[in-house]
Every structure is written in C-alpha cells, then in structure tokens.
Amino acid sequence: MMGGAWRRLKSDRYGMTGLFIVIVFSMVAVCVWSGLLGQGWSDVSGNRWESVSTTHWFGTNLLGQDILQRTLFGTATAFEVGLLVTFCSTLLGTVMGALAGWYSHGWLDEVILWLKGVLDSIPFYLFAAAVAFALQGIPWAMHLAMIITFWTTTARIIRGEVMRIKQREFIEAARAIGLPSIKIIFRHVLPNTFHVLLVQASIVFVAAINTEVILSFLGLGIQDGVSWGLMLAESSQEVLAGHFGNFVAAGTSLFVLLMGFNLLADALQDALDSRRATA
C-alpha cells in the first residue's frame, strides 16, 4: 500500500529534491543535538562584524560570534520548534477531529467546532503576543501559542475524513458486534487517515518554522539559544550599516529548508492521493 506511494514519490524529481534538502537539514540538526556541530554558537571567537574568511565562513556578528555556528545551531532550533509543534498540534487536532467527526452533529461536535471557530477568529500574532505575555519567562510560550492555534486545521481535515470513513461498511461491521466507539476510532478509523495526516503534518511543520522566525523577529520567540528568527532580528540593524552576514545566512537557510519542505509536501500529497483513488 505504502509501497506504491513511495514508488510514485521516487519518480517525482521535485519531491526527491525536497526530500534531499530536508534530510540534509535534519542531519545538521541531529549533529547539533549530539554535540558535533554548532557548539560554539555563543563563543566570542572574533572581532565585531568580521567579513567572510576561512575561519569565519559567514563572518561574525556584532558581538564577534561566528555566524556559521549560529546558523547551524539555528537549524536545530528550527527542527525543535517544528517537531514539537507538529507533534503536539497533530495529536490534539487528530483527537479533537476524530471526536467531532465520530459524534458529528452531536453536542461534542458543536463544542469542538465552536472552540475551533473562536480560535480561528483571533488574529494569530495578537494571540501569540497575548500568550507570550501571559506566560512570561516560560520558554514554551511560543510553542504553546502555535499548538493552540494550529490544531484547528488538522481537526477540520480529520473531522471530514472521519465522517466519510464512518459511513463505510467495515465500520458498521465493527458496530454490529458491539465494539466500543473508542476502539473503532483507533483501530478502524484513524489508521485510514494516516496519509492525510502525513501531508497535513508536513504543512504544519513548515508553518511552525516560518512562524518561529516571525515571532522571534518580533521578540516573542524563543527565549534562549539562537534561531534564524533571532538572527534576522539582529540583522535588521546591521543591514543598514552594510553587514549582510546574519541576513544572508539565516534568510537563505530558511528559504532553502522551507522550499524543500514545500516540495516534499506537494509530492507527498500527489503520491498518497493516487493511492486513495485506487482504494
């Protein structure tokens, strides 16, 4: 089943480029986590605003820190945010969507839809600022703001899928022997939404990394460590003075990774969709 999707993905040149980019970046992230790369991100290893050289490939920043080290470390930060937010919001969205879809038009569905409507109607950056403010000093404020707002899209998609799947006869067969709803949902319904979840998760991942950059730029982002967003925030001062190191390094990394992920997400959607057509 998944074999066919993989074969289709493999024949998609853009998809494979995307996959390659994503793999390279995730390897960088893994190396940072395991202490092999980017460990000198906070060391002052040179003078202020040194330009490109063999010791400082991307130059140094205002404090004389190596921009390459910081970019590498920022990759790990991006993946941390992406993975954590994607995992939590997908989990939350799946559970909420499954409940809403299974009990569609019941009171639980109404409550979940209402909650989703409320969250969707709040301007995101305002909400993120409010959460960041409310949770001052807590390092996860930004992650939390994203999780709380991102689950709604996943929930909507899963709700639709569940409403579609629950009409199928194998669900009736399971109900006919009196299998409890919760078992039916986890055993027979959700496994069939896997392909949709995979695509949706890759979209959330991109959105999370993107949002981290913007929030960090606004000063609502991560509190310690360094991220591409923080580097871009720094660079806003420097660019005027003619120092492009931070801007180019963080901007390019962000652009390439997001492009890779978008290519992969598109290709995944295609590959998994034709599986659905045959199913």
């Binding site: 089943m1 199928r168 006869e169 194998f170 009736e172 067969a173 399971a174 109900r175 006919a176 022997i177 009196g178 299998l179 055993r187 027979h188 496994p191 069939n192 896997f194 045959t278 199913a279």
Partner: protein, 334 residues
C-alpha cells in the same frame, strides 16, 4: 431448492410494526413492517433500492434506532435488553454487506479482521482462535495464505467470502445478507449463493436474504416478502409467490422477470416514486400511482394486510397481501 418448514416451529426473529423515518429528510424508510422468520429457514426480502430493506437490516442489528415497533430475537425484544443480553445477542446475529471491499477494514490483515469478533466476545484462547480462523477460511473455500493478506490484495469474490467468514466465525443463529451478491459478477454470484446455501444446510442458520433481484431470491428463499416504499405489500411462501403472486406489484415484478432474460433483471426499474414524506402516509395505497388495476378507493383508503384464505390451510405458512382487491376474497371465505 428448499425443504418446507413446519409452521409449528417458533420464529427465531419476529419484527412487529416496525417504523422508521429519517427526520432530517422527513422520509419514511420503514412503515409498520411486520414479519417473522422460522428458525432454519430463509426469508427473501425483495424490493427496489430505497424501498427500506437495508434500513430493516440495520434496525435488526441495532445500528439504527427505529421510531416504533418491536424486534424480537428468540422471543425477547432487543430494545429492552440490557447491555449484557445485547452483547450475547449480537454474537448470535451477523450481517454481510453489499460491497465486499468496503466491508473489510483496509489496513488490517484478513486474520486480524477474522480474529476481532472472537476477541471481542472472548471466545476461546489465542490458540483456539487461530485454529478457528483457519477452519472458517477452509469452510468458505479459501486457502490459508489469504490470512496474511490485506483486503485490497483479494478479488471481490474472495473478499465476500471473507466477509461471510467473519460473519460466521461467532457461530450466529441469524445471518442477514444485505444485497450480498449484488455487486458481484454473475458467475461469482452463483458461487456465493451456493456457499451460503451449503453453509445454511450445514450449520442450520436462519437467513434473512435481502435483494432487489427476484432471480436470486428464487434460488434461495423459503418465504418471500415484497417491499415497496417502506411497506410490505405481500408475504408468502416462495412456491406460492413464484407460481401465483397476488399483489399487483408482485405481478408486475414477476412478469418482468419471467418475460425477459431469466437470470437477473433488477427490480430497479420500478423506482418510479421516490420516497414519501411522513405527511403523505396512510391515506392511500402506496402503490396507487403505478398500479394497473387501481380502483377509486385506492386513493382514499390505505388497504389493510389481508391473509389469503385457502380452502385447505396453506401448508407452508400464511400468505398476506396488502391490497383492496383481496378484501372480498377474505370475507367470502371466512
């Protein structure tokens, strides 16, 4: 074809005055339907698609809740059962669906699908369950290695055999086949019907066989019930029904089946009148709009269900017709 069943046997399943409407569309799906099935026999429920046959099947399985009426299984009303009794009852009745592919869980192996009812009802231990899946696979005429496959790796005939196997694995007393052969090729249709028949003989199962296809019903049923727009218009032992149908709708159905290609002509062609709304019920005969022998009274009064009286009591069971034409016969004979 079928052995006559003595009428003294108690019915395994009895449906009394069952009514169901879908409130959103205000559509009548089942309209005061009553019938019973003797243990070990087969009732063929025939009607166009949308006549309410599947709704009856689902109501019996308690997948949908009817508005009123009773369903008695072995004499007990299933709507009055507590969860323990219901669990025991669910084990004793099973359902086979029209679409073999969508009736199997796509991401579970055949073995997992077959084991599920056994695990759910806590029948046997791990070893005996596996033994049982192997047995049942053989019973439905398949090879052991399908157990490790997924539904999409099987042909539709094989899938339907698996669906039957899953239905039979808890040794039910009642099997409901809802258009179980409708989506299969004719040759495979014959095989599956044969399989169901031989299983019925072997295991003594009672069968509610739902189909829009009279040719199929003819092969398998002891008794026939004809459904039209949620109502049962005629109920009769199969032999009588096929030799001498009484209701004008039954006559139309049969003449169509007899005149044209004998194998399978769907009743679909009579889907002239779409469903009725609740407001429209009971003031006329539901078949009045399409009836060839309609009388003035048919538009004003709903006919009752009359039992046809034979000089000698019919040996195979009662014969009911819901039509004004038969009032005379009834009063004259009694």
């Amino acid at each position: 074809m079928s052995t006559p069943t003595p009428p003294t046997k108690p019915p395994l399943l009895e449906v009394r005055n069952l009514s169901l409407s879908f409130h959103q569309q205000e559509q009548v799906a089942i309209d005061r339907v009553s019938f019973s099935i003797t243990a070990g026999s087969t009732l063929g429920l025939v009607g166009a698609s949308g006549a309410g046959k599947s709704s009856i099947a689902r109501a019996i399985m308690r997948l949908i809740k009817p508005d009123s009426g009773e369903i008695l299984f072995k004499g007990k009303n299933i709507f009055m059962m507590n969860s323990q009794q219901m669990m025991a009852t669910r084990q004793r009745m099973q359902l086979v669906f029209q679409e073999p592919f969508t009736s199997l869980s796509p991401r579970r192996t055949i073995e997992q699908s077959l084991l599920e009812p056994l695990q759910h009802f806590a029948i046997g231990d791990t070893n005996s369950r596996q033994e049982k899946t192997r047995q049942i696979i053989q019973t439905v005429g398949l090879d052991h290695d399908v157990l490790r496959r997924y539904p999409h790796q099987l042909s539709s005939g094989q899938q339907q055999r698996i669906a039957i196997a899953r239905a039979l694995i808890t040794s039910p007393d009642l099997l409901i086949a809802d258009e179980a052969v409708a989506s299969l090729d004719v040759s495979i249709q014959a095989q599956i019907i044969q399989l169901i028949q031989s299983l019925q003989e072997e295991l003594g199962i009672t069968l509610l066989f739902i189909s829009h296809d009279l040719a199929v019903i003819r092969q398998i049923a002891n008794d026939v019930a004809v459904m039209y727009q949620g109502q049962l218009l005629e109920q009769s032992p199969a032999d009588t029904f096929f030799s001498k149908p009484n209701h004008p709708y039954s006559k139309t159905l049969l003449s169509f089946t007899n005149n044209k290609a004998p194998t399978s002509l769907p009743v679909e062609n009579w889907r002239l009148d779409r469903g009725r709304t609740t407001a429209e019920t009971t003031s006329n005969c539901v078949f009045a709009r399409s009836c060839q022998v309609k009388m003035p009274i048919c538009d004003q009064l709903e006919p009752a269900s009359h039992q046809i009286q034979y000089r000698n009591q019919h040996p195979l069971g009662p014969h009911y017709v819901k039509c004004h034409l038969y009032e005379e016969v009834n009063t004259n004979d009694t």
